[in-house]
Amino acid sequence: MRQFLLINIDPEHIPAIADRIENLCRGAGMNLSDAFKLKTCVTEAINNAVEHAYHFRRGTIDVDLGIEGEEFVVEISNETDGTTDPFDTRPVPETGAERGRGWQIISAWCDRASVSNRENRTIVRMAKRICN
């Protein structure tokens, strides 16, 4: 199974995309709890692109997902022109901070997660083992 989505950014649409990915995870045999966690991580990665890469302006995000071995892998990528903010992967913010929890959630709830830049794109790659 391999799927590729090209989405126009609109915060209103993110939940539907996340729901779709959760359903695909469930269809691949992932348990309910893990599918929910990966859905949350995907939401965080898309949110980050919407806010920090595109600053809520128009743009597109690629969602590339599929099964690799025993893992469900999702890559979220956005264009970057060198002026966009990088994904904030700094350590966990203080408890009372209002921002900065996206990477905390992704790194905790994915089995593997990374952020890279290539060919003018920022790519967040997230993998979670399929356990039923």
Binding site: I14, P15, T95, R99
Partner: protein
């Protein structure tokens, strides 16, 4: 209060969070709660019984709410968290910031006692 629903019980305001609290509606929710606090409702119970999905934008609304309330001597507590939402709250250590109650009466009683003190 245009978007979130709320109910007054004595000195306590119960705010019912929607099914989803995400980037799409977090700005409106933040505004609504701040407006409540500005109107003098600084003892807030955030009833999360309907909340099925929250992201970090939604969590920031909770933090914003408690900061706004505490700034004027108030407090915000949470109640009726679903297991998956509770897991996210604990992962992000917000359970260290908020008192969390199993049900609404317990949350209201806690804030009532605070108001009476």
């Amino acid at each position: 209060m245009m978007n979130l629903t709320s109910e007054t019980k004595g000195k306590v305001e119960i705010v019912y969070l929607p099914e989803r609290l995400t980037m799409a509606n977090s700005a409106v929710a933040r505004h609504d709660i701040r407006e409540l606090v500005d109107l003098g409702h600084a003892l807030l119970v955030l009833d999360m019984s309907r909340l099925e999905f929250v992201d970090s934008s939604g969590l920031s609304v909770l933090v914003s709410a408690i900061k706004s309330a505490r700034r004027v001597g108030g407090e915000v507590v949470l109640c009726q968290l679903r297991p998956q939402v509770q897991a996210l709250v604990e992962l992000t250590r917000l359970h260290e910031l908020f008192e969390i109650f199993v049900d609404e009466p317990a949350a209201v009683a806690h804030l009532d006692a605070r108001a009476a003190a």
